[in-house]
Symmetry: C2
Subunit: 243 residues, 2 copies
């Protein structure tokens, strides 16, 4: 990049990137929400995605832990509450377990993470390390995929409820709560990067960050697709569906 | 694990693990050395594997950088020389580039790492982070896959020279040098873990480390297989072979 973009040009570039590389374009996602996945494939997806959910508060806490601005810290703290819950409201991780419960997966199997695809673990840890090690601007920007998530979540909920009789509104309670939180978080992060990326290099770093994050999500679906769809090669030690 | 193994029992457990999970069992490796890979698949393998080679000295240096024993530091320093070379001897990374040169890949494409599969990057970074963050015992143990590498390298050299007319002893100079280095390194590391894993927990940590490292190598071949063999879904931004 050679010239400074206006904040709105930067936003356009980010939206174009999402339109080209967000994981709603992955064949595994298309299968899942169009009802073409077997129950075993839905189980494998929920089991692996649990690890992503469970690590989100760690990446958020590490951002707060190196942020000197109390306003940003306070804003970001809401995300910890969203995922870890409060005394009176279960958080996103607990609601994700309602999905894996509903799919008939034993809690211990899910929460031990021992049956993960190794690629899931490496991709999620790449995300956590990225937030821990890069600039605060990049750490904030790494959640910009939330700009595109309300769309994917509504496709997923509608499709899964319509096509799978073992999926109920109760098991999908994670997704019912997420879109307004994601919209709020994405709005905040987008506004933040538009105001704080003030050089061409910083703007490029924001764009590269969104590319990285799209790669994380894509890599996770690639691994699921390879193991459980085509060619169906399950790596040693990973979840083997029953039957 | 409930009881302390003898050092030789520990070695047996490690050998069994390698026999079950080392990446010589992966279909991509079998294709590669049996001559069934297309040139594009060999290119994709060499391009992605370059990133692994290029990061090895970083993980070795981070081990040295937190090791208080000068004897171990001096021993480990040889690995830096093996990979980064000296004024008079090219190292492993330079010799790997002879392979990518011989395959007709532009140096800039390879060394920029911009065409990597995201999963390659995440798996290799997981290895680097592991060595940086875990105990010294685990950091040393993470190279135990070298116990099995002389075998895979000889299969690979013999198979590739026999089956691919664009592969010459010159392009395979990396592999010609590696087996004696790998044998020396593996012997040292195996002896080290047999002497230093003195509790059942430490022995389990060594076994878990070898499992982790086998997963790293397996995940890299899974990603190559998914993108370039079956189903042949290349992730956005990754290497697209010509033609």
């Amino acid at each position: 990049m050679t010239r400074l973009l206006t904040p709105d040009e930067l936003e356009s570039r980010l939206r174009e990137l999402g339109a080209a590389r967000y994981h709603n374009l992955h064949p595994f996602h298309r299968m899942l929400h169009s009802g073409r996945s077997s129950k075993a494939q839905v189980q494998a997806w929920a089991l692996n995605r649990y690890y992503y959910q469970s690590m989100i508060p760690l990446k958020d806490a590490s951002l707060i832990g190196r942020c000197e601005d109390p306003v940003l810290r306070r804003e970001w703290r809401r995300r910890l509450e969203d995922h870890d819950g409060t005394d009176t409201h279960p958080g996103g991780i607990e609601r994700w377990l309602k999905l894996t419960d509903g799919l008939g997966l034993a809690r211990e199997l899910v929460t031990s993470t021992r049956a993960l695809l190794p690629t899931t673990r490496f991709a999620v840890q790449a995300y956590v390390h990225f937030v821990r090690e890069r600039s605060l601007l990049e750490a904030v920007a790494s959640c910009l995929t939330e700009m595109f998530s309300p769309q994917i979540i509504s496709e997923r909920m509608e499709g899964m409820l319509a096509h799978y009789d073992y999926i109920t509104p109760e098991t999908l309670s994670y997704f019912a709560k997420r879109p307004p939180q994601a919209r709020r978080d994405a709005h905040f992060a987008l506004d933040y990067v538009k105001r704080h990326a003030r050089t061409p290099e910083q703007q490029q770093a924001v764009i590269d960050t969104l590319t990285f994050k799209c790669d994380v999500l894509w890599s996770m679906l690639d691994a699921l697709h390879h193991a459980y769809v085509s060619p169906g090669l399950i790596p040693p030690g990973a979840f083997v569906p029953e039957g």
